[in-house]
Every structure is written in structure tokens, then in C-alpha cells.
């Protein structure tokens, strides 16, 4: 079982939390990272309240709605997010610039098809910053693109009846024209 988010420093004093995805991969992440996922935080808090004897947090948190692939990406994003925040604790402007730069680079390595699963995963984990970021990324990816392109982008098929589709096109003829070629 690969553990993509293992800390390089085994003597680190920070607590580890183990997450188990729907496809049975196990991720061990630092508490600070896991706590950005509000769903995990909630589970973790509840668990700690219930379990009085747990001095060591060896809790394994199941994530039945998240697959390993988007989770690995989200953990990477989250770590960097925390790192940038820590590096620019006293300079908000600087932080935003760094973050923007990172996000731009980040998107270069994300396939458009991955965005949907990332949004769903971020939504399930209730990781707000990532959710906002991916929604913005999708919006700018479909900006000035044809309807056909957007459908292909998301692997969608039109479910309009032929008459409805025609009416739609007539009504907004120009919104189907003059778009980026892709």
C-alpha cells in the first residue's frame, strides 16, 4: 500500500491521523493537514470525546466517499497551503501572491477531467479553500468555450429534447458562436 503523504521526518512530534479511502488506500497525514478537512475534524473530535482511553490517537478514519487519487492531490494542495500560510504569517499580501503563483503551477498538472472528482472530494471533506479554488478553476476553464466543448470537458451528454435544444440555440444563437478553439 503506497503512502504518498508520509512525512520525511519520522521524529516529528506532531500527531498523525490515518485516513482510509473508498478504494482501501491508507494515508497517514499530519494532524494540521487533516484538520483542514472539516469532515475529518468533526469525526476526529467526536471520536476523541467518545473514547476516553485513547491517549494515543491511532484512529483510523474511513472516507467512504473519497478515492485515493483525488485525496492524494488534496493532501498535497493542503500541505502547500499551510506552508505558504506559515511562511507569510505576518504578510497577507505576500501570502496571496505566493498562493496565486502556486495555484497557477498546480493547475498545470491537473487534467480537466480530474477537476470534477477534486470538487466532489473537496466538498465531501468540507475543505473550503480547495473547493473555492477548484470551482474558480472550472469557471475559468469553461470561460468563452462552446457548449459542445463544455460537454466534452465534463463528459456530459445533452439531455435536452431535440425541440428544446433547437429553441435554445435560436434564442441565444450568438452565445454558441465566437468561442475559443480547442
Amino acid at each position: 500500500m503506497s503512502n504518498q503523504s508520509e512525512s520525511p521526518n519520522p521524529t516529528s512530534s506532531s500527531n498523525k491521523i490515518t485516513l482510509k479511502t473508498s478504494d482501501n488506500e491508507v494515508f497517514e497525514v499530519e494532524e494540521a493537514v487533516a484538520m483542514k478537512f472539516c469532515t475529518v475534524k468533526q469525526y476526529f473530535d467526536d471520536e476523541n470525546n467518545n473514547n476516553v482511553t485513547s491517549g494515543t490517537s491511532t484512529t483510523l478514519i474511513p472516507l467512504p466517499n473519497v478515492e485515493s487519487h483525488p485525496l492524494a492531490i488534496l493532501i498535497t494542495y493542503c500541505k502547500k497551503h499551510l506552508e505558504i500560510k506559515a511562511n507569510n504569517a505576518d504578510n497577507k499580501k505576500e501570502m496571496e501572491i505566493d498562493m496565486e503563483h502556486y495555484e497557477r503551477e498546480f493547475l498545470k498538472n491537473v487534467m480537466p477531467q480530474e477537476l470534477t472528482e477534486l470538487i466532489l472530494a473537496a466538498n465531501y471533506l468540507n475543505f473550503k479553500e480547495a473547493l473555492d479554488f477548484f470551482c474558480r478553476a472550472v469557471a475559468s476553464a469553461i470561460q468563452n468555450k462552446s457548449v459542445e466543448y463544455v460537454r466534452k470537458f465534463f463528459g456530459l451528454e445533452s439531455d435536452f429534447k431535440p425541440g428544446e435544444e433547437e429553441k435554445l440555440r435560436e434564442e441565444f444563437a450568438w452565445s454558441f458562436e465566437g468561442v475559443d478553439e480547442d
Partner: protein, 328 residues
């Protein structure tokens, strides 16, 4: 009962924030055209432009600072005043109502931003006054009329504390592109969401008029050359479509006029200093040109060269109007 199949993996509550990230109405419309669940996720009424729209100041502070000595204010103060400049884009649409039952008379409806005025074309006066817009006479049933959009026009209202230049003409294209002809002949362009205007055409080009005609934008310059503005994805090109034949064309001001599906370049002879003064002209038939200049309205017969007052021609007039006329 309904067999609506989710075409999208993304639930509605996640489609909404994505839609909110789109800038232009066109993108919203496209978004809504993808499939049913996308269509229901965001409503177009939230995004249809609500006039008046905020528009970038067409007269931003100059980059290279000139002396403002005559204003007796510092640059900082001038910048501050510039920031307070408010610019609003208004839209006016004129509809013609033709009665389905033959005996009733026709009407014009003018929708200014969101306010509706009923006009009697034979009197050219507002039937419903501006203090009670949107209210039609009791016996007036809109369904009894065939409605045709005659024309739409856009104007800029600029509230500025410091002197600014003049704007001669504004057109909006596809709810997205706005073209502005300045008093000095420059041609500015802004897309929805832009924070400033960019100038079109090569340096030194001066334009007299711009028009939206059959889904395209055309401009005419001071030499009478007609240009088609080719709108690409990210750039705009000026493509020449008409070369003038006259020789003293610089002495006239050019107007682009659409009438009965044809576009005309109308030349007006004038003193240079009067350039830009609102003047509108509607060609009603091959014979007659209707002119507005300031407050005067008259008809000019192209065949015998005579001008007559409007009342002599009521039977042949096809009505059109221009909102700037009302502002004069």
C-alpha cells in the same frame, strides 16, 4: 413521473458556485445550455444585465501627468476626483406595437433601462409620464398587439467632478462588447467585466460613427471609409468595407444610418466646430430624409431638394427614434 436523468456528476449546489465564477452573460447562457441540471442550477435572470450598468470611466487619469495648474489642484486630489467619477451605461429599446385588430392605432413603447413609456407616434409625446412608468392605460392589452423591436440604443451617463471629454456615440453589442466614439474621434472598446477601455484602430485614426447592423459592428472614419469590426476570440480587427468616392469628404460629418435593412453613410456638411452635435437622420423612403438637429425636426426630399415640416409627411413616415434626442 419525470424521468430526468442526472447528466452531471456535480450536484446543483456545486454547479452554482462554478456558475458564479463566470463573468459574462454569454458564458452564463452557454453554461445553461449544457444540460438540464446545469440549466436549473443557475437562473439567467440573476445575470441578465440590469441597466443602468456600471461602466469603466472612459476618461481615466492620464498616464503622463500634465500640469493641472488651471484647476489649482494637486495630482493626488485629481486622482481622488477621478476615482469618484461614476459612469453608467443606459439602455433604451423601442418597440413598435401593431394592433392585431385593424381599427386600433399603433403605438410605440420605449423601455428606458427598466422603465416603460408608451408613445403616441403621431404626437411624439409621452402618453404615460415618467412619474408613473410601467403603467399602461386601463383599456390597453399588450396581447392585442404584435410587438417588433425597432431599435435599441445605449448612452453613457458620466458623473464627474472634474472636466472630462465628450462621448459622441455608444453602442453595445451582444450584451458584452461596448464601443464608444469619443468627441476627438478615438474609438474605445470594453468587454463586460473590463476595468478600462482600450483604443481601437491605428494611431491618428478618427471615427465619426459606429452602428450595430445585422449582428455586426461597423464604424465610419472621418474620410468616409467604412470599417467592419471583426470580433475574434481575444482580438478585434478593423476590416475596410467601403471606400468613399467624394473628394471633399473631410468637410462633412459621417453618420451610419440603417433603414429598411440597408445601411447608409450619410454625410452632413457642417462647420468643423459643430462636429459631434447630436443629429439624427432616418431614411424613410428613397425620397425622404428625416432630420433631427437640436430641437428641429423636418423632412428633406432627396429628389427636389426641398425641406418641409414634419406634419406634411405623416402618412408616409415610419417611425424611429433615438434616445439621445430626448436628452437634448
Amino acid at each position: 413521473m419525470s424521468e430526468s436523468v442526472e447528466c452531471s456528476e456535480l450536484p446543483e449546489e456545486l454547479l452554482r458556485p462554478i456558475g458564479k465564477g463566470l463573468d459574462t452573460r454569454i458564458d452564463i447562457l452557454r453554461f445553461r445550455g449544457v444540460c438540464k441540471s446545469w440549466r436549473s442550477a443557475i437562473s439567467s435572470s440573476d445575470f441578465i444585465p440590469r441597466f443602468p450598468l456600471n461602466f469603466p470611466n472612459p476618461f481615466p487619469p492620464p498616464r503622463r501627468r500634465r500640469r493641472l495648474g488651471w484647476l489649482a489642484i494637486s495630482h493626488d486630489e485629481a486622482d481622488h476626483l477621478h476615482q469618484q467619477t461614476v459612469c453608467l451605461l443606459h439602455e433604451t429599446i423601442l418597440y413598435r406595437l401593431t394592433p392585431s385588430a385593424s381599427s386600433d392605432k399603433g403605438w410605440l413603447i420605449k423601455v428606458e433601462d427598466c422603465k416603460m413609456h408608451l408613445l403616441d407616434p403621431h404626437r411624439e409625446r409621452y402618453e404615460s409620464e415618467s412619474d408613473s412608468p410601467n403603467i399602461l392605460p386601463n383599456n390597453f392589452v399588450l396581447l392585442d398587439y404584435d410587438t417588433v423591436e425597432l431599435t435599441r440604443a445605449h448612452t453613457l451617463e458620466i458623473q464627474s467632478l472634474i472636466p472630462i471629454g465628450r462621448v459622441n456615440k455608444v453602442v453595445m453589442f451582444n450584451d458584452c462588447h461596448v464601443f464608444v466614439v469619443y468627441g476627438d474621434g478615438k474609438l474605445g472598446h470594453a468587454k463586460c467585466g473590463d476595468e478600462s477601455l482600450t483604443c481601437l484602430g491605428e494611431k491618428g485614426m478618427e471615427f465619426d460613427d459606429v452602428i450595430v447592423y445585422e449582428g455586426q459592428v461597423y464604424v465610419v472614419d472621418r474620410f468616409g471609409i467604412g470599417w467592419w469590426i471583426k470580433i475574434n476570440d481575444s482580438t478585434l480587427d478593423l476590416v475596410k468595407f467601403w471606400n468613399p468616392c467624394g473628394s471633399d469628404s473631410l468637410k462633412t460629418q459621417k453618420h451610419l444610418v440603417e433603414s429598411d435593412g440597408t445601411i447608409y453613410i450619410v454625410e452632413r456638411y457642417l462647420d468643423r466646430e459643430w462636429r459631434g452635435r447630436p443629429y439624427f437622420c432616418v431614411i424613410c423612403s428613397a425620397k425622404v430624409v428625416r432630420m433631427f438637429s437640436g430641437y428641429d425636426t423636418g423632412l428633406f426630399d432627396l429628389e427636389d431638394g426641398t425641406a418641409s415640416p414634419l406634419s406634411a409627411f405623416l402618412d408616409i413616415l415610419r417611425f424611429s427614434s433615438h434616445p439621445q434626442l430626448a436628452q437634448e
